[in-house]
């Protein structure tokens, strides 16, 4: 009797299998390479390049000048302000989203799906249009102002303030907090909560000691999904903040389009990217230890 398989043949089969997987992933990988990795490389290269007097960027004379300019007062002010806006947006989203996600995940399947669709409905219309709608609401002749006048507080104009920016950001990114929180809370085995209640925990203690730690991955995912786009947000501050309050996004645009300083704009982009990457990693790690 002869062996059906020659030694080593199974390795060939495994390699062929791996090759097929690679080929299937190839289109997406090619797309990402052309439209993400290469442009990112260009930005990184720009950040070390030189700006000529005419405002062109020359890919010669590599230097760190642009990075040194990031230490300037104005950049630091803008960065702190962006950080503050992003943090506030994240915290407000978390406070609003947690009870909602908890409520949704404890409903029956029909109500639950309706509510989830409700959370996602805003995505069905254009983000710009929705942001401009806020402009109408917050302007001096808008609903908010009219209500305040009716109550005798006088004309109130929220538009073009930090409050307007945060309102807009919370509005835009709240679903990104609700959905991962929902997924995390929904996954918790309810018997853990029953177990805690059976072991003399009050409703609040059961939440604090069991639900919160077990749903923490959802808090982390949601916070990152809200914080990252808020930190570099451009459209919302541009429309609702009137660009008087400089934030990182608008400052970078300013460097590219008005100051015609590609290297500084690129350097700032690289730093923001790096900070967010490190921040995200640290955040994940701190959550990961308790899981």
């Amino acid at each position: 009797m002869t062996d059906l398989l020659t030694p080593g043949l199974e390795h060939q089969a495994e390699r062929a299998h791996a090759r097929r997987g690679f080929l299937l992933g190839l289109p997406a990988m090619a797309y990402l390479l052309v439209f993400f990795v290469i442009p990112l490389g260009i930005v990184v290269a720009y950040s070390f390049a030189t700006r000529t007097r005419s405002g062109r960027t020359e890919l010669t004379g590599w230097n760190l000048d642009s990075y040194q300019r990031l230490g300037e007062e104005i950049v630091r002010t803008v960065a702190w302000r962006s950080l503050w806006v992003a943090l506030l947006t994240t915290v407000i989203c978390l406070i609003l989203a947690y009870p909602l996600a908890y409520f949704i995940s404890t409903r029956g399947p029909v109500v639950r799906n309706l509510l989830l669709v409700g959370v996602m409905i805003p995505f069905w219309s254009n983000f710009l249009i929705r942001t401009y709608a806020w402009r109408v609401i917050l302007d001096s002749d808008g609903v908010v102002s009219q209500a305040s006048m009716a109550l005798g507080f006088g004309e109130t104009r929220v538009l073009f303030t930090n409050t307007a920016i945060i309102l807009g950001l919370v509005y835009g990114y709240l679903p990104f907090m609700v959905l991962p929180l929902y997924a995390a809370i929904e996954r918790i085995d309810w018997s853990f909560v029953e177990g805690a209640r059976d072991l003399y925990a009050s409703g609040w203690s059961a939440f604090r000691r069991v639900v919160w730690p077990l749903a923490k991955p959802g808090v982390i995912a949601g916070s990152i999904l809200v914080f990252v786009p808020s930190f570099g947000a451009y459209v919302t501050p541009a429309i609702l903040g009137g660009n008087k309050q400089g934030l990182l996004g608008s400052y970078i645009v300013l460097q590219f389009l008005s100051a015609r300083n590609g290297p500084v704009g690129s350097a700032l982009s690289v730093v923001v990217l790096g900070v967010m990457l490190v921040g995200t990693l640290v955040y994940f790690r701190s959550g990961g230890r308790n899981l």
Binding site: V110, D189, F192, E194, G195, R197, D198, L199, Y200, V210
Partner: protein
């Protein structure tokens, strides 16, 4: 202090307890239907029945995880009413164990003490005692996911017992274990219960498990209690067909009550058997397979009731030989000890099946 009773009275007392669940379409399902039950102190009491019979709902109502629609639940005489689970002097071992996955074994075991604000110094001794009790001392710092099913089961037990509850509720705690481990844990659980002297209320669908461990068993079916008695009485003297069928294997012979101490079998044979059923009622006479004996036709011993038949099949099942015997109106299962090899019947043999009248029981056809 939270969750203790000072009252006298039985460990658990259920009176006319009803639980109805409504579904979305508005129809109501009665999971527990007017149950009256008294469980005495220190008892190992089992609620036994097929899935969906209401046994787990009953247990959960005692725990406070489910609130009764009507009726009264008392623990040591004290009405539990709508008290939340954290204010009740009971602890539960869940079917899924429900060990907190983000806490170590020691933290899991200490959780109840922590919630009751037991001082940290005292807590440590109690945790050690409970973990040693279930022989998990070397695993105190592991997370539940690092434990096998049997080990998780022990931790769940320690986590409940450390609180010294007045009643320990166990919801099919051995269901997830394999047979060998389950049998070993049955004995350990029984010993543990004797050691700590706490009343155990044990829910199971496994009749063998219930018979092995319990002081008393309540057989449930469709939300009602069919019979509450010692394992021996439930096995030897079931009152309904359902109980006889659910506990072990048995034969049912159709019969009619002919008087206070006589029934008539379907073939016309008269049998002296006492029953509390009214004359004329269609009943069943149940005889366990191991209470039947089989002989070659014509060798029937005196004083026994006997039925003639033919051997249909002979199956060797290890500790016994199982015969299926056709009598002219039904088939009977007979189990004989597998020791007397020479006496074995063969398929097609004309035989007589016999039994002593005291080994037969009249059961109602419910």
């Amino acid at each position: 202090m939270n969750g203790t009773t000072n009252g006298q009275g039985p460990a658990v007392e259920l009176a006319r307890v009803v639980k109805r669940f409504g579904d979305r379409s508005g129809t109501e399902v009665t999971a527990v239907d007017h149950i009256d039950l008294t469980i005495t102190d220190g008892e190992f009491f089992s609620l036994l029945g097929p899935s969906g019979c209401g046994k787990t709902t009953t247990l959960r109502m005692v725990a406070g995880l489910e609130l009764p629609t009507a009726g009264s639940i008392r623990i040591h005489g004290e009405e539990m009413g709508l008290r939340p689970p954290n204010k009740r002097p009971v602890n539960t071992v869940f079917q899924s164990y429900a060990l907190f996955p983000h806490m170590t074994v020691a933290a899991n075991v200490g959780f109840g003490l922590e919630m009751r604000k037991v001082p940290a110094s005292e807590r440590k001794d109690l945790i050690d005692w409970a973990i040693d009790l279930v022989e998990m001392g070397s695993m105190a710092h592991r997370k539940p996911t690092q434990l096998s099913g049997g080990q998780q089961q022990r931790v769940a037990l320690a986590r409940a017992l450390v609180n010294r509850p007045e009643v320990l509720l166990l919801d099919e705690p051995l269901g997830a274990l394999d047979l060998k481990l389950r049998q070993q844990m049955q004995i350990e659980l029984k010993n543990l219960q004797r050691e700590v002297g706490i009343t155990f209320v044990y829910v199971t669908h496994d009749q063998e498990e219930a018979v092995t461990m319990s002081d008393r068993i309540a057989v449930m079916h469709e939300g009602r209690l069919l019979q509450v008695d010692t394992p021996e009485n439930i096995y030897e003297h079931p009152t309904t067909r359902f109980v006889a069928d659910f506990i072990g294997r048995t034969n049912f012979l159709a019969a009619t009550v002919a008087g206070a101490d006589e029934v008539v079998l379907a073939n016309g044979d008269r049998l002296r058997l006492a029953s509390d059923r009214p004359t004329g009622e269609a009943v069943a006479v149940t005889v366990r397979p191991e209470r039947l004996t089989v002989h070659q036709r014509g060798q029937t011993p005196e004083g026994l009731h006997h039925l003639d038949g033919t051997v249909d099949s002979v199956v060797y099942v290890g500790n016994a030989i199982a015969y299926m015997v056709s009598i002219d109106w039904m088939r009977l299962e007979v189990r004989c000890p597998a020791t007397l090899v020479g006496d074995r019947m063969a398929v097609g043999d004309a035989v007589t099946v016999s039994f002593e009248p005291e080994h037969a029981t009249v059961v109602s056809e419910q």
